[in-house]
Structure formats: C-alpha cells, structure tokens
C-alpha cells in the first residue's frame, strides 16, 4: 500500500516538475525583462525646438566686434562688403526688385542711405499688424523687438491690449514705453483701406504723437501699406480694394509723415511689379507676404536707415 500511495505522486512529480519549473522560470524571466525595460527607457527631456547656430548668434550680438563680422547668417543674402548694391543684395533670383529705383517711390519717401548692418535694429521696435508678426515668426531679425498682433488696426492700436510682453498683455504703447527703443517702425493700414482715408490718416497722426510720447528721442519711420495682388485678393478677401486705393492712402501717409516730421519709407516699392501690384509668388493670399519677402523687406530697411546719434 505505501507503494500505491507514493507511486502516483512520484510519477506526477516526475512528469509535472519540469513543466512547473519551466513555467516558473518563464514567468520570472518576463517579469524581470519588463522591469529592466522600464528602467532603461529614455528619460523625458524638454524639447528645445529652436537651436541657434553659434555663428548666427554671434552675428546678431550687439557687441561692436560682432557687428563688423565676416560670418553671414544663412537667412541673409547681403554681401560681406558694406557697399550699397541693391541688385546684388536681393535674395530673389527671379527679378531684381523694380521698385528699388528712386523714380518708383512715393514722393516724400526717404531716399537711399548708406547701408547699415543688422545691429542697427538692436534698439529698434516694429509696431504693426499681422504682416509685422512675420518678422518674429520667420526669425528674420532676432535681435529686434516686434510689438505686433493680428488683431491690431488703426482703430484700436491705442486701446487694445494685444501685445504679450513678458508676463503681461499690454497695448502697443504700454509695451513700447518699456522697451527704451531708439528707432520705431510702424506698418499699419492694410485693414483700413476700405475705410475713410482722412479718418484713418487722422488716427495714424494720433498714433505718431503717442509713439513720440512713449519713445522720446527715437527715430520714427512710417512704412507704406504694401501693394496687394489684386487677382488673389479679390477672391480671398473682397473685390473692392485696388492698388490705386492703396497708393492714394500711401500718398496721404507720406504727407502726414512730413507734417509730423518723421520719416516715410516706401517699403511697398520692394514688392511692386510693373503693374503696381504684388507678384503672385510673393504672397500666400494676395495681402500677406512669404518668408523670402521678409528678407527683401529688411534689405530695403538697411539701405534706408538714418544714422542714430
């Protein structure tokens, strides 16, 4: 009887034991593998999407040594010499800007000046609407200050807190006062062309007074409203605005600038073709401009800058 009792168990043990051990080992192994895998997973790192090349950072440094620099950032087409050569300085191979000649500029516009470097914009501020925001988004002049927002226009620039400045949201003038700017560039009016021009020019005049108050002793530049590509604009926005309306507004703007003793810059001349409109490949929607055009814009500003005292 003892044999009967023990034999089945003994047999079961012999049959079952290897299987049991095998399964136990498999379970332990998989638990260990899972644990090791989790321990070795890559730690989470904060993403830094903008990694600046050191030579680019150095080129935009405000130190005098860095200004006279030989390294040319990839976003800028200017030659290393400081001679003003508008055709060579253009980044667009398709056409040299026909508007660069003086005759195409609006009367009263500042004429071509000795070329300045990017450091000129260290203490400059750009005030404007959606078009001006592209300066920041395309990072064309990272050393300058942009106070712009899509929602800003002549009718609300003095009242709407639309500018994120540090932790605060301020009006453009509140932000301007904090910057200590020595040069102020304004580009507004694209959204006001359909309004009464005299009313809009009046608002612009108030704005210039406020800029002067919030940035005393600064050089103030009023920039023209850019031309549109009528074909695209009429479909995307409205069929009632033409470049002749824009030129009419700009002529009044130039006169205002003279009256207020500030400078008027015909930036629009860079983007006008022989029809007086913006080429289709310069614009995504007939009104805003593409990234390459921001480089053209700054190239124009560099050759139409008044030396700061």
């Amino acid at each position: 009887m003892p044999n009967l009792k023990f034999r089945p168990k003994h047999r079961r043990k012999r049959r079952g034991a290897p299987i049991l051990v095998g399964v136990l080992c498999a379970a332990v192994f998989s638990a260990a593998a899972a644990g090791i895998w989790q321990l070795n997973s890559t730690p989470v790192q904060a993403l830094k999407p903008l990694e600046l090349d050191p030579s680019v950072v150095a080129a935009f440094s405000s130190s005098p040594q860095a200004v006279a620099i030989q390294a040319i950032p990839s976003s800028e087409p200017e030659p290393s010499s400081q001679e003003p050569l508008p055709e060579e300085a253009s980044s667009e191979p398709a056409q040299s800007a026909s508007g660069q000649s003086e005759s195409a500029q609006t009367p009263g516009a500042l004429e071509e000046q000795p070329r300045v470097t990017s450091a000129y914009f260290d203490d400059a501020v750009f005030i404007g609407d959606s078009i001006t925001t592209g300066i920041k988004l395309y990072d064309v002049m990272s050393n300058t200050t942009v106070l712009a927002s899509t929602g800003i226009g002549l009718e609300n620039i003095l009242s709407k807190p639309a500018i994120k400045y540090g932790e605060e949201t301020l009006t453009a003038m509140q932000a301007l006062a904090k910057t200590g700017a020595r040069k102020v560039y304004i580009m507004l009016g694209a959204n006001s062309i359909l309004g009464d021009h005299d009313t809009m020019v009046g608002l612009y005049g108030n704005l210039i007074d406020e800029v002067r108050r919030n940035a005393p002793d600064s050089i103030i530049y009023v920039q023209s409203v850019l031309p549109i590509n009528e074909e695209i604009f009429h479909v995307k926005y409205n069929p009632n605005t033409d470049n002749s309306d824009i030129m009419d507004f700009n002529t009044k703007l130039a006169a205002l600038a003279a009256e207020k003793q500030v400078y008027y810059l015909d930036v629009g001349s860079v983007f006008r073709d022989e029809t007086g409109g913006m080429p289709a490949d310069y614009t995504p929607d007939g009104m805003h401009i593409n990234s390459a055009q921001y480089i053209m814009w700054f190239d124009y500003l560099k050759t139409h800058a008044i030396a700061a005292e």
Binding site: S30, A31, L47, P49, L137, A162, K164, N191, H288, S291
Partner: protein, 156 residues
Amino acid sequence: MKKLAVFALCTLMILSLTACGSKSEAKELDLDAFAKQVIDAVEYDDDMVQLNEQIASEYYGLSFDGLEQWVAYGSGTAATTNELMLMRLKDDAAVSAAKEAVQKRIEDQTSNYEGYRPDELFRLENAVVEVRGSYLLFSISPDNDTVTKLFEDALK
C-alpha cells in the same frame, strides 16, 4: 505544497502580465517626429513654421506645472489661423491647465480675426482638442480628420 506552487505560479504570471500591460498603456510618442509627420501629411493652405519658446509662450502661456514636453507649429505668414500644438503632460491637473491654455488661444484668435476675417472663424470653431493618455493634441487645420486619425493611430 502543490497548491502553494500553483498559487505562486499564478501570482508570478499575473505580475508579469501586469508589467507588460502597464507598459503598453504608457506608450511614448516622439512629439517632434509626430508633429513633422502631421505637417507633411496634411495639406495646410499656408506656410507652417515651428514656433520657438517665446512665440509659443505668447500663444499658450506654457508656465503651468506638469508640462513635460511640447512642440508647436503655426502660420508663418499670418494668412490663416492654422496651428498644431502637442503637449506631454504629467497628470490630470496639467491636462486641465493645458486645455484651458488652448481654449484661451482659440478665444484670443477669435477676437483677433472676427473683425476682418470671418472665414477664419469657421476654422477656429472647428478646432480639435484631444487627450490620449499623457498627450494633448490641439489642431486648427483644413483637415482635422487626418490630424486626429494620425494622433489616434500613433497612440494605439
């Protein structure tokens, strides 16, 4: 003895299955690569640029606790309100804060565009905010179906 062995075996197997199970729930997403995939796949009617920290902070705040990682793209020309924001968030509180941040962004943009671009309001009204596990997707685009599907597939 046999019962003890069986119990021990079952416990071990359950533990190992649990370990594997929790790993698949915490699926990791390479935000940078995924964002690029979306930008390439969707026919955005605008030039989408990657947003740096200064611009993204202006748009979303980004100062709330528990934001572990983010990547964002937006319209470079301002011709549209197209936007793509992906965040990895530590916990439920961070998810709530993130949802508030993107909601504020929608409100800001609505305020910016309602004066002169009513066609962009439609796009803002159809913005997508979706949370899967630790990840939040915020998308304003002409094809949010594709964006959403890519997000869901990536986190399956």
